[in-house]
């Protein structure tokens, strides 16, 4: 049987370079630095602002309030089922900016590269960042590259910052929830966290779990069009849905009542969670959001989400209530009720 053709590299070939891995000199500002930027980075991130190679990007933004966010990505391993550190870094910041309702315009990218990182790996990451930025419809307009000695970082760390402009009159806030509002989750839980965990050293077992990393700015556009009264949007990344919902309840001084049967978890993800003794409510997602909307707009928002590729499995998971302010409660499948608490620390696989 022949190997599967590598389409990524057919469209995105690694340019011929003098070295096959990152050298300290690649970060020293001399010829090798210029080589890395000109041959490897610029061809992937071409934008009018970046191509000028000034010390800063000068942006012509439409009028309005600017949403601005930054995030640093240190995921290990850097390649995981369903994605890599590159598309994660683009999608993560696009989503953080977009959760304000802003149209995301531009990203900055800062790389910290470890001496010895294979150039082929770096190139693969750049290609996936290019594809992610294209899919999200954002430009990478400025950047920076530093090289650190072997052992000073774990292959590659990426910082991305993003700016967007918020439409007039839109004021999304976690502190604006009122009793009666509906809570909508855009899809299945725990895909990203379990995809990464199942390939981590010491835990590796065969599974088909894939990260859900995805840009959500287009989905958000649809949500806000269908639900102009939307109270707040947030992506339940680290700490999972349970953390985000607790943050909402505390910020607004309301209770949230969830329905356990409304949550969806893919069977393979549920299996991995069961084996490791981990609750999917606390596991990171990278392509999901939680929207809180007034009750009379919930059905319209739900329909709009389900019509979008990143919201096909959206469901109403709960209601904002006046009872138990600051606490999130869940009706179990048997009709009993329990608390969904903030996690204390990282979830750890149990002994038995």
């Amino acid at each position: 049987m022949t190997e599967r053709p590598d389409f990524a590299n057919m469209s995105c070939p690694l340019p011929l370079m003098d070295h096959d891995s990152i050298q300290l000199a690649h970060g020293a500002g001399g010829l090798l630095s210029a080589d890395l930027i000109d041959k490897l980075i610029l061809p992937r991130f071409a934008s009018p602002e970046l191509d000028k190679l000034e010390d800063q990007a000068v942006l012509d933004l439409p009028p309005g309030r600017v949403a601005f966010s930054t995030d640093t990505f240190v995921v290990s391993p850097i390649f995981f089922p369903g994605g890599d550190i590159g598309d994660l870094a683009v999608n993560g910041t696009v989503n953080d900016v977009a959760m304000s309702g802003a149209t995301v315009h531009a990203l900055s990218v800062g790389f910290v590269l470890e001496e010895g990182l294979p150039l082929a790996d770096f190139h693969r990451i750049l290609c996936s960042m290019e594809a992610a930025a294209k899919k999200a419809g954002v430009r990478i307009v400025t950047g920076d590259t530093k090289v650190v000695g072997r052992g000073s970082c774990d292959g590659i760390f990426i910082n991305t910052s993003g700016v967007g402009v918020i439409p007039d009159g839109l004021n999304l806030s976690a502190a604006s929830l009122v009793p009666g509002d509906r809570v909508i989750l855009s899809g299945t839980l725990a895909d990203h966290g379990m995809a990464v965990m199942t390939v981590r050293e010491g835990l590796s077992f065969q599974s088909s779990v894939q990260s859900d990393t995805a840009p959500l700015n287009d989905l958000i556009r649809m949500i806000l069009a269908a639900g102009p009264g939307t109270r707040t949007l947030r992506d339940p990344t680290r700490g999972g849905a349970a953390t985000t919902l607790n943050e909402f309840a505390k910020a607004s001084g309301v209770g949230i009542k969830l329905d356990e049967s409304a949550f969806k978890v893919r069977p393979d993800v549920a299996g991995a969670c069961e084996i490791l003794g981990i609750d999917p409510l606390y596991v990171a997602n990278e392509g999901k959001l939680i929207a809180v909307v007034p009750a009379d707009q919930a059905e319209a928002v739900l329909a709009a989400m389900r019509a979008h590729e990143h919201g096909r499995e959206a469901t109403i998971i709960g209601t904002v209530v006046a009872d138990h302010p600051g606490l999130v409660a869940m009706k179990t499948g048997f009709g009993a009720e329990r608390i969904v608490d903030m996690p204390v620390g990282e979830q750890l696989p149990r002994i038995c």
Binding site: A270, F334, G335, A336, R338, D341, P349, R350, C352
Partner: protein
């Protein structure tokens, strides 16, 4: 998911609850042994659905909870050594010793790694011949075969750089300690299904006969637990104590003879301290003398570290089913999962931690 959804089926659960209601005629106190069962009871709210005649009390079956402070302190001393790769299951990493936990040792430069199987620790020993690899072997009979297998494998390969800190505990002596206490309230047991997967149930027959209690090996899903309660209540109401297996899909009377043989080959029964309870005779496992080269406590000479439990919390009474977590004045106040005062708040499977996580709503 197959083998899971059917045991979380609300309709089946409703039928079992109805049958329990029909069967019960008087108050009964039943103890679930295992922390995994406690966790499921709180997570699915089973305690809220049972008829008021039935009181569930939570047993000592959380290995993280009952591992004595002394063992943790010894583990921390070994983990802090130069040239040691210290390995452990995930949830032991956070357990505080007298002053430290493994995470903090790691942050100061200790090589502490989470493994999912003790055989991964053996692999690390094979790959790092210049390092000492130590595995923290805690747990009940369930994890003992895997941990014993790691020693057996290391011995077979002639590895001299692998050793274990062993703090295994056994369920039947703890049950006897509870039943023979003058304050005992427990009238029936849901035995820990996974322990019985290894050990079978023949060792429970004499306990059931001597103390006239029903003992029902029970699984961990809501339908399992409700069926286990129903079987226990039936035996109690009929006045016919004995052992009856609920966990049919996994538990055989003889358990798993191959696993039991490996445990007996590597470990032997010893007296063991339980955190929150104290010394229980013949309630633990330790590495046999002829395999002392694999005993990390001997190898690193940490047997001299002795730690007394602080007398601040009622974990001992909770682990024996005498009190419930919310009856402790410190519960949810000075004592939380972030600031645990005692054993049962330490692990996510401890009874206090389960109460704190799932049913704090009534607290103000």
């Amino acid at each position: 998911m197959k083998y899971l959804d059917e045991f979380r089926d609300p309709e089946l659960a409703k039928g079992l609850l109805e049958e329990i209601r029909r069967t019960v005629t008087q108050p009964w106190t039943i103890m679930e042994i295992c922390g995994g069962q406690t966790h499921a009871i709180m997570r699915f709210g089973i305690d809220q659905l049972l008829p008021p005649e039935i009181t569930l009390v939570h047993g000592p079956g959380c290995p993280v909870c009952v591992t004595p402070l002394e063992t943790i302190d010894r583990a921390l001393a070994v983990a802090a050594r130069e040239n040691v790769i210290f390995t452990s299951f995930g949830d032991m990493l956070r357990v505080p010793g007298s002053r430290d936990d493994l995470f903090r040792v790691k942050s100061r430069g200790g090589d502490v790694r989470m493994v999912y199987s003790p055989l991964e620790a053996v692999k690390l020993a094979r790959e790092n011949p210049g390092k000492e690899v130590v595995f923290l072997a805690v747990g009940f009979e369930t994890t003992a075969p895997g941990n014993a297998m790691a020693v057996k494998q290391a011995a077979a390969e002639g590895l001299t750089n692998f050793s274990e800190i062993v703090s295994h505990v056994l369920v039947p002596p703890a049950m006897e300690a509870i039943l023979s206490s003058p304050d005992n309230l427990v009238q029936g047991f849901l035995a820990a299904g996974h322990v019985c997967t290894i050990m079978g149930w023949d060792e429970y027959e004499p306990i059931a006969a001597r103390y006239k209690v029903p003992i029902v090996p029970t699984g961990f899903e809501p339908v399992d637990i409700l069926e286990g309660i129903l079987k226990t209540v039936r035996l109690l109401e009929k006045g016919t104590p004995g052992v009856e297996n609920q966990y049919l899909r996994l538990v055989r009377e003889e358990g798993n003879p191959v696993a039991r043989a490996v445990v007996n080959e590597i470990y032997e029964v010893c007296d063991r301290k339980w955190r929150g309870i104290g010394m229980i005779p013949r309630s633990g496992l330790r590495i046999r003398d002829e395999l002392a080269a694999f005993d990390a406590e001997k190898k690193f000479r940490v047997e001299g570290i002795v730690t007394e439990e602080p007398e601040v919390c009622i974990a001992g009474e909770i682990l024996q089913g005498l009190k419930k977590p919310h009856e402790c004045p410190a519960f949810g106040k000075e004592c939380t999962p972030r600031t645990p005062l005692g054993a049962t708040m330490v692990s996510s499977e401890g009874a206090c931690a389960a109460y704190h996580k799932y049913s704090r709503k009534g607290l103000s």
